[in-house]
């Protein structure tokens, strides 16, 4: 794999930019591999990369039913933060943040990680108290967090509704300066290229249709490109975990729901940070092209359709205008949907499974993008050693049986209300 550098750009300029290599090979499946990773999204590709990079396991294949970057890794709103409250989440997402901070260098691929900061507005004294609680927990874990009063918020984001008629007046905010965004396609491409550089095969348009078994253990997969044997199989297909899990014989506490995202026509620079609305479910950032990228609630009923419904468009627009009246006449350019694995506590599941040879990475709800590097790192460790990485000890499948759920929002077990 030729490294990208200022010099390589210069050298290729001399030959008219015609001699760039493909970022990764178009591989054909071999009869068997040490590890099969099902799902060529961010998590699957990161898993394959870290299997090779950290554990020296290079006889690995990533099977993707569509194309690289066509699933949720290319459909999210690209927000990265580590402002989690509960032990297990706090440390995991901060580890992820540290990997983000070095990702472009580690992958030799510019993922355009931009630590522009994220703030969540507080709309009552009580909410600001709860944010202080969160900020203290973050600081005790060595994570940056600041509590801003109303005037400080106003200086930072003067375009929010600070008028006397605001439905939910802004009392303050919690701010994480190291939070930000990254270019999500580049994350998929960067991991794919780096994994390929370690010898990992990436096979697109190859859907897994079933599992090969030897007794109770899984020893490979049936695909639309034939049978492939494997020492171990890792499932990283969030959105469709239940579908493949059922084929493997796993019973899962997961429902699939659709989450929409939106982008407006391009504007001059307006939103310098990631801004989240504390009084409703709405968050916004501005892309490098100028579009406001935002999202809100789930559509709220089980769905495998990668498109959403108009009722939620209206709800999200209402929240947007309540927080930022200045964008009331901005036109929506596009909106799209992605299918989420929703768990009953809105926390992910990464663990070995009761089925021999099968490892599970799913249940990412609407928060999987920011977890991409840590998820891959810890899942690779779990597959390589057969034991959960300490950072994902809280993400076992059995936590629902034993009552050790990580319900960050305290929303209870109805997946569609998380």
């Amino acid at each position: 794999m030729a490294r990208y550098s200022a010099f390589s750009i210069f050298r290729n300029a001399l030959s008219g930019q015609k001699n760039w290599q493909r970022a990764w090979r178009a591989a054909e499946p071999k009869p068997s591999y040490d590890v099969i990773v099902i799902g060529g999204g961010g998590h699957g590709l990161a898993t394959a990369f870290y299997l090779a990079e950290n554990h020296g396991i290079r006889n690995v294949v990533v099977l993707e039913k569509g194309y690289i970057g066509g699933g949720n890794v290319g459909r999210n709103t690209t927000v990265i933060r580590s402002n989690y409250l509960l032990d297990g989440n706090t440390q995991f997402y901060e580890f992820s943040m540290k990997l983000w901070e070095n990702m472009s260098r580690a992958l030799n691929f510019n993922v355009m990680f931009s630590q522009r900061g994220q703030l969540v507005t507080a709309h009552s004294a009580d909410q600001l108290d709860s944010f202080s609680h969160r900020a203290n927990i973050m600081r005790l874990n060595g994570i940056d967090a600041d509590i801003l009063d109303r005037d400080e918020v106003r200086r930072l984001v003067p375009y929010l509704d600070f008028s006397d008629t605001a439905r939910f007046p802004i009392h303050g905010a919690i701010f994480q300066g190291r939070a930000g965004t990254a270019r999500h396609d580049a994350v998929a491409w960067g991991y794919a290229r780096a994994a390929d550089g370690h010898g990992v095969d990436i096979i697109q348009n190859c859907e897994v249709t079933g599992f090969l078994r030897d007794g109770d253990s899984i020893v490979g997969v049936e695909t639309t490109k034939g049978r492939i044997g494997a020492g171990k199989v890792g499932l990283a297909v969030a959105g469709h975990t239940s579908v493949l899990g059922a084929k493997a014989g796993l019973e899962l506490p997961i429902e699939s729901h659709v989450l929409q995202a939106f982008v407006t026509e391009p504007l001059k620079p307006l939103v310098d940070q990631v801004v989240a609305y504390g009084a409703d479910h709405f968050y916004v950032s501005q892309s490098d092209k100028g579009g406001l990228v935002f999202g809100g609630n789930l559509d709220g009923y089980n769905s495998y359709a990668q498109r959403g419904n108009l009722g939620v468009v209206r709800e999200v627009a209402e929240a947007a205008i309540a927080l930022m009246p200045c964008i009331s006449r901005v036109r929506l350019l596009r909106h799209w949907g992605g299918v989420m694995d929703m768990t009953p506590d809105a926390s992910p599941i990464i663990c070995p499974t009761p089925i021999g040879g099968l490892y599970l990475n799913g249940g990412w709800c609407y928060g999987g993008f920011k977890a991409t590097p840590a998820s891959g790192w810890c899942f690779a460790h779990t597959i390589a050693t057969g034991k959960p990485h300490p950072l994902i000890a809280a993400y076992g499948l059995d936590r629902f049986r034993t009552g050790h759920t990580l319900d960050e929002a305290g929303a209870g077990p109805s997946a569609w209300l998380q």
Partner: protein, 98 residues
Amino acid sequence: MLRIECPCCGPRDHDEFRYGGDASVTRPAHDDPDPEAWYRYVYVRTNPAGLHREFWQHVIGCRQWLVVERDTRNHAIASVDLARKLSARKSPARKPPA
């Protein structure tokens, strides 16, 4: 928009309804001591990509709970019925008055 054919009110926009989740799970008997039964009732879902039996309540209408069979891939609705007609835990059938 989904359009749900309410048995009482006719075809209505799904925004008038509240979603109630998977209707294929049955609550264990109140005195069931088996934690596994409760685990399965509260958490385990088949989550099919295809026909899904689910509860909807017509909150801005007749307020009846319905069981809707809907394809989760394309939202085509196959059937709608009153939940109480389909309930697995019916109260004992009343004898007709003598």
